[in-house]
Subunit: 70 residues, 12 copies
Amino acid sequence: MLDSHAYGKLEITGSSKNSIEEAVQTAIKKAAEKVKNLRWFEVIETRGYIENNAVSYWQVTVKIGYNLED
Amino acid sequence: MLDSHAYGKLEITGSSKNSIEEAVQTAIKKAAEKVKNLRWFEVIETRGYIENNAVSYWQVTVKIGYNLED
Amino acid sequence: MLDSHAYGKLEITGSSKNSIEEAVQTAIKKAAEKVKNLRWFEVIETRGYIENNAVSYWQVTVKIGYNLED
Amino acid sequence: MLDSHAYGKLEITGSSKNSIEEAVQTAIKKAAEKVKNLRWFEVIETRGYIENNAVSYWQVTVKIGYNLED
Amino acid sequence: MLDSHAYGKLEITGSSKNSIEEAVQTAIKKAAEKVKNLRWFEVIETRGYIENNAVSYWQVTVKIGYNLED
Amino acid sequence: MLDSHAYGKLEITGSSKNSIEEAVQTAIKKAAEKVKNLRWFEVIETRGYIENNAVSYWQVTVKIGYNLED
Amino acid sequence: MLDSHAYGKLEITGSSKNSIEEAVQTAIKKAAEKVKNLRWFEVIETRGYIENNAVSYWQVTVKIGYNLED
Amino acid sequence: MLDSHAYGKLEITGSSKNSIEEAVQTAIKKAAEKVKNLRWFEVIETRGYIENNAVSYWQVTVKIGYNLED
Amino acid sequence: MLDSHAYGKLEITGSSKNSIEEAVQTAIKKAAEKVKNLRWFEVIETRGYIENNAVSYWQVTVKIGYNLED
Amino acid sequence: MLDSHAYGKLEITGSSKNSIEEAVQTAIKKAAEKVKNLRWFEVIETRGYIENNAVSYWQVTVKIGYNLED
Amino acid sequence: MLDSHAYGKLEITGSSKNSIEEAVQTAIKKAAEKVKNLRWFEVIETRGYIENNAVSYWQVTVKIGYNLED
Amino acid sequence: MLDSHAYGKLEITGSSKNSIEEAVQTAIKKAAEKVKNLRWFEVIETRGYIENNAVSYWQVTVKIGYNLED
């Protein structure tokens, strides 16, 4: 019942060689292996590593909310 | 032994149609289904949804500390 | 005269199925329907919704500055 | 269409002699006189005035999101 | 005279078994035993202790402003 | 009635060639062209532009609270 | 001895009809009536009241450090 | 493959009678009982309890990143 | 009675030639000369002075909570 | 030797007409003209300019860490 | 070309016996001895020293942006 | 002359296998190879790497202030 639903939150860092968006998708895919019913995310931090004076990969940390009722 | 005790922290969003306090209680009850020995909480964020120009339910996110020794 | 110009600021959340950049563009387009002379923006928050373990759409909140003189 | 929806955000301070929740409801009611389609809120700041060593009224500032499409 | 009035600020944590509002009232009552002419408060932090998977008491930290002229 | 009064908040950036205080006054004057019953402000950000190694003008962003009842 | 000196900190809000600097000076003068050996300050918040669409007075909150040894 | 690796993050509070560093080590040791492949940490908060006017123990909260691939 | 206990908070900067921990202990010892029943602390800021390219002393600011009932 | 390595940090704002990622790459390329051995970055701020109701270019500020030993 | 311009950022603390504005001008003048093409600044922190219960000088920390292309 | 002195600020991350304090000392020593007249520092961030479930080294980021007049 909606009166007392609740959401858990996971913090996960995903990475990608290509873009911030892809790093977020990586984080979500990994989260889905641990918990079910993922609902939303918030970007907490955007970082990355540099090789040869270019971004070698993006590292984006997200908090992911998931439904605890299901 | 107290010299090296430790606490885990869960972040959970609880909701309630009635009050901020009830939304926190919802979050704690849900946390108790996942881990034991809950000790304290801190309110991180207070939000809510609006229907017909009134709060339809409160959503309060708390960090909950629990004892890792037990 | 430049001595006493001023800018208003709007806070708007735009969304997109595809990218953070497109969600910002959506927010700017909507702002343009409300006020004129938009000048700059700052990203305040990047969030999104998840369906089937993937981002269903991006939600980016921006503060948009617009010239009050015109 | 969902692909490009957007939300405006209003910041409003509501007050109440009785509780934080009632102060939020006041803010929402006042927002509804200015814009339509209110959807959600976030509490930004909780303050209040003191008379005779007791809270004389609560002042709660909320950001209120409303749908720009309607 | 208003030209140069000033306010001191006290930081106090009050608690209550029942509600956030009551914990604030406790903090204000205690502050009143230390200084006179309390004027306003701001909530800094909302925490609490948990016993038997429920809030045993709320702990709310407030900054309280008081008039230094009187 | 005081039990349920409310304040709107505007965010405006004012500028001045001379001082931070004058930039705030500019912002308030511009706000007064948009809404009535301005009551208080808070400084959010102080920035400025540089020409010939000196401040060419100050840019101060304020949040301005105004009474919604009148 | 320098090895173990300590500083107390007071938080005080000073006001002035004229400028931010004068409001800080007001706060310091009031602090000097309460404690001795004031050493430094940090500006925490700059606010003010508005009357007739102009600043009626500035309110600046400072943390003031004072030497506890003397 | 590095293109899409991800890290989980745990938040744990460790304590020690002796030092901040030892409290961090306690937190890491406890985290290692829950998850494998710990990689890095960030200190979030340093607190402690006082008995007889001295620190009785240090409480340091860390976020710990661990590899989700292994 | 626990239902309405309260804690005051002092902000004090302690220093030490040797370590962060010792600077905190200095702050607590000084606080104990001003108020009784110290209970806990939180580290707010860690700074220091440099002489001859080395730390000459550490300056750590703590908020110290003390029981107002006793 | 690893025991005492150190990193410098540069703060640089890069821009791009096309994307946030490209603006970061611009910042890194410019940093590489000033210092060697760039290792990682963190995004500090994402802003941009608006022309004709669309983003004319993205401005992303990054802190870039580089190895001081080489 | 505008597509890929970049700005460096310097953090400098300037001081003045007279005002916050003059302390900022001092910081900018000193920055101009180190780098060329200064463009804008943001005030990061306003502090000061106290002697004889009055401000002896203001210390204002600014981040200064300068054009890297020239 | 004191009326217009100024300080530059460097941000440096130092590391150590042993302690937070030693990591700060490493950062200061490295800073001294780049600029003269170091005066003070503030700790910005404390992180570290983990190997075999223990801290392999501490990484502490400091802002270091140095005198620009000398």
